[in-house]
Amino acid sequence: MLIGLIVAAILGPLYVWQNNDRPSAKRYGLGSAIAVLGAAVTPIAMGQCAFAAETTGVDHLFAYTLMAGGAWLALIALQSFFDRADGKKSESAAMTGEIRTGGFRMGWWVPWALLSPTLIVLIVFLYLPAIQTFTLSTKLTRLGAPKSVDVCFGNFTELFITDPWKLVAYPLIAVGLIYGARFWMNRSEPGTLSRKGADVATVVAMLSVFVALYAMFSPGGGEQVAYRPVYVTTVIISVGIVAFGMIGGLAVAYLAFRRIRGGSLYRTFLIWPYAISPAVAGVLFFMIFDPTAGIFTHTMSSVFGIDVPNYRHNAFMAQSAIILASGWKILGYNILFYLAGLQTVSHDQIEAALLDGASTWQRFVKIVLPALSPITFFLLVTNLTYAFFEVYATIDFMTKGAPAGKTSVAIYEIIRVGVNNGDLGRGAAQSVLLFAAVIAVTLWQFRTSGSRVSYGGS
């Protein structure tokens, strides 16, 4: 632990040096102190349990990662304080084109007083439960149990492989690949062979993140929990839902956008699936595909004489069924947004392209798609969140995770372990992991897609 604090004390001033022009000695000192403080928060809060005698390298790794995170957050806060003192414009103000936020004339506390109802609701219903989840995730505990046992990072480490060096190496390799690809991208000129190579490298680097995570999660066996299959299932089903929901949504919206008789009525009906709850979507598709009572299965066998196999026996069919049901449910939502977005596509540009002899496909790809990019970006975030969090009921009705966990995504697993089996600590740990995943995905989306999104204006 001491090593971690020393490293923080050295890296703190480095961060200050990098982000400020000729900082004063006072700032270096502050940077060092704040970094140590930030790094010390988690080990102190957890009673330094990760550095106890019987802990493994993986425990230390988790502790150092949290220390680094703490120091980093503290430094970011410190930097924003410095920037304020220097009178720099904040990044967000620069982006939205605002010049300066107006001062409040009635004293600093008035805006806080006005915000307090919202803040209280947020604290009571969001932050306190979140903190409790973090606390629970370090324990072995059950509802109604006379005692609970502190397991430190045990609920987390059992989800990962046991070799700490591999656990460090895999994410570092992935990050290295991403930075390498970005470096290559910056060095290459558009239109050259080198740029094409850089494009490929970028895609490979992105995929390497998925591969690294795959390698990091434990395949099970011994004391470890087989979390790798859950990860794979979650990736397949989430990507499937988002791809089906968004491509399907755009396609239907594009078709429905054309002038057709009764168009508005038709468009209203298209949005309906969104109003259906995930549970009902599960029941509907269950009624269609169920091997005994299903409409589809029955029709296929009685009319066409084809015996449709039980979709719950086959991983591919079961996952497809979940993607179909969940994607269908979010389809209406995507159509709604794309329909709105299509109305903002500049008609002049399309007409100009038409005169220049662009085909329908070219007009769609070169004009409509870029114009829709803000909406696509927004939908990507909301669809992924939906795929991560709101598929439980659909899965519970259609497969209950069958066959053998092949449709048991992260959220389903959390509820199975934490609620149905009453293992609160493990459930909490898995939900912290999902929480981290959603934050990571959102950050990544804002960093990469954000730069390429065109919001129309200058």
Binding site: G47, S80, W112, V149, A293
Partner: protein, 468 residues
């Protein structure tokens, strides 16, 4: 200025996290819930909350009707039935309600969680539930309601008696029986319902050879209860210390011969196409639909739905004992279902009201009516006698099979069934392994070895929280 505040807020947030994490692991700070209920003094009826894990019209309706009758008979009490969607929901809600100081008087909880209920404590460390026998304290009637606890049939009494005390009042109690589509079996030349695994194999061969053969021959839900039943039949223990009945169970045996025999037979039926797996664990609806739709000739199921099958089958439906392993001596089937638990810490008036209701609820007439409505066994001997006098069994012979099967069981720890910590989690591990074996064709011994490791880990962890 704002950045400064942001910084302060961040520091505060970290301080909060630190405070939350460093709080003691035992949440003993919450004040003990006061469970005093005002007694019926000025004509105000004492409310007795009864939380039920049924939400279907028939079974919840039965509870509501009995509560209404009791309220009419004893106007000083008001039994209030609340419905929950599952046993787990009832239990979680009850434990939380104890901590918040407004617990119900009676809750409906299932057999596999008996250990969990016995172990449950509130945040003050006091047990959540109280032994019904202790509360009755040898009285033969309470508020004019004759005590029927001593009259409960042996299979149920023995199951729910822990450390010599009969803790909770059995309500819905059943066992596994087989339902046979005799029209289909007769067509295949089988005149008697199959009694053993070998008989099932032979019957299935004949049924599947029919010109208009059904989709498959037999099915049952992938529920751990059937595994436990088979272990009981074969006289195998599921856990050490006599299935957790002479001491706390600390080890489970998922690799026993009985286990291997049953799962191998099951897999074999599945591989031959005789057994059809609906693809969902604990799928009561899917399997029952398959039987009623004539997609299988036989269904191993809970006796709880005997009346339902008798009323809804459009073929000759005959109930028989659950098929057993012909190679080992038959020991006995066990019960399943749920009991009504009484919460600890009530004042005498409320407790007496709750006890009176429990005994009223299972008096011979009510127990017989419950049996007729569903197929759950008549829970007391006098209810059985009443039904026999009425001629109900002659009229509806399928209804007697479950009681007969339980009466045929030898009273051994194996046939009583196990009392296990984290039984729900262990059942989940068992059905998960079976699904893997049926769907993915994995090796039975290897998969059960993994399940055994997982189950023992779960049990050890449970014992580290509750045991010793």
């Amino acid at each position: 200025m704002h950045k400064k505040l942001l910084l302060i807020a961040t520091v505060l947030a970290f301080a909060l996290i630190a405070a939350a994490c460093s709080s003691s692991s035992e949440d003993t700070t919450t004040t003990a819930g006061s469970t005093e209920t005002t007694a019926a003094a000025g004509g105000e009826a004492t409310t007795i909350d009864f939380w039920v894990a049924f939400s279907d019209e028939a079974r919840l309706g039965f509870a509501n009707d009995r509560a209404a009758e009791f309220n009419e008979k004893h106007p000083e009490y008001n039994i209030q039935v609340t419905s929950f969607s599952s046993y787990n929901d009832v239990f979680d809600a009850a434990v939380l309600a104890v901590d918040s100081g407004e617990p119900p008087a009676l809750i409906h909880f299932f057999e596999a969680a008996t250990r969990q209920a016995l172990d449950a404590v509130g945040s003050d460390g006091a047990p959540v539930f109280k032994s019904v026998t202790d509360a009755i304290g040898g009285r033969s009637e309470i508020l004019g309601e004759p005590v029927v606890l001593d009259d409960v049939v042996d299979a149920a009494r023995n199951y729910y008696t822990v450390d010599g005390s009969f803790y909770s009042m059995p309500w819905n109690t059943s066992t596994t029986v087989m339902f046979n589509n005799m029209d289909m079996l007769n067509e295949a030349g089988i005149t008697e319902p199959p009694a053993t695994w070998a008989d099932v194999d032979a019957a299935c061969e004949a049924v599947m050879a029919l010109a208009d053969a059904p989709k498959a021959c037999i099915t049952w839900p992938n529920h751990s209860w059937f595994v436990e039943q088979s272990l009981g039949q074969q006289g195998e223990l599921l856990a050490n210390n006599d299935n957790g009945r002479t001491g706390r169970a600390t080890e489970v045996y998922l690799e026993s011969d009985g286990m291997m025999n049953y799962i191998n037979w099951w897999k074999d039926l599945n591989d031959k196409g005789y057994y059809t797996y609906t693809g969902i664990q604990r799928d009561w609806d899917g399997t029952s639909n398959a039987y009623l739709a004539g997609e299988v000739a036989m269904l191993v199921y809970s006796s709880s739905d005997t009346t339902f099958f008798d009323e809804n089958a459009d073929f000759t439906n005959v109930a028989s004992f659950m098929p057993r392993n012909q190679d080992v001596d038959y020991v006995g089937n066990l019960i399943g279902g749920a009991t009504i638990w009484m919460l600890d810490g009530m004042d005498q008036t409320t407790e007496d009201g709750a006890l009176a209701f429990l005994n009223f609820f299972s008096n011979p007439e009510n127990a017989a009516a419950w049996h007729k409505l569903t197929g759950y066994i008549p829970i007391t001997k006098s209810a059985e006698a009443l039904l026999a006098d009425e001629g109900w069994y002659d009229e509806s012979p399928n209804s007697k099979v479950a009681s007969d099967q339980l009466a045929a069981a030898k009273n051994t720890p194996a046939s009583l069934g196990a009392l296990l910590g984290d039984f729900v989690g262990i059942r989940d591990i068992i059905t998960g392994a079976i699904e893997d074996i049926l769907v993915n064709d994995v090796d039975v011994a290897t998969r059960l070895a993994q399940a055994n490791t997982d189950a023992n880990k779960a049990l050890t962890e449970y014992e580290s929280l509750y045991g010793g």
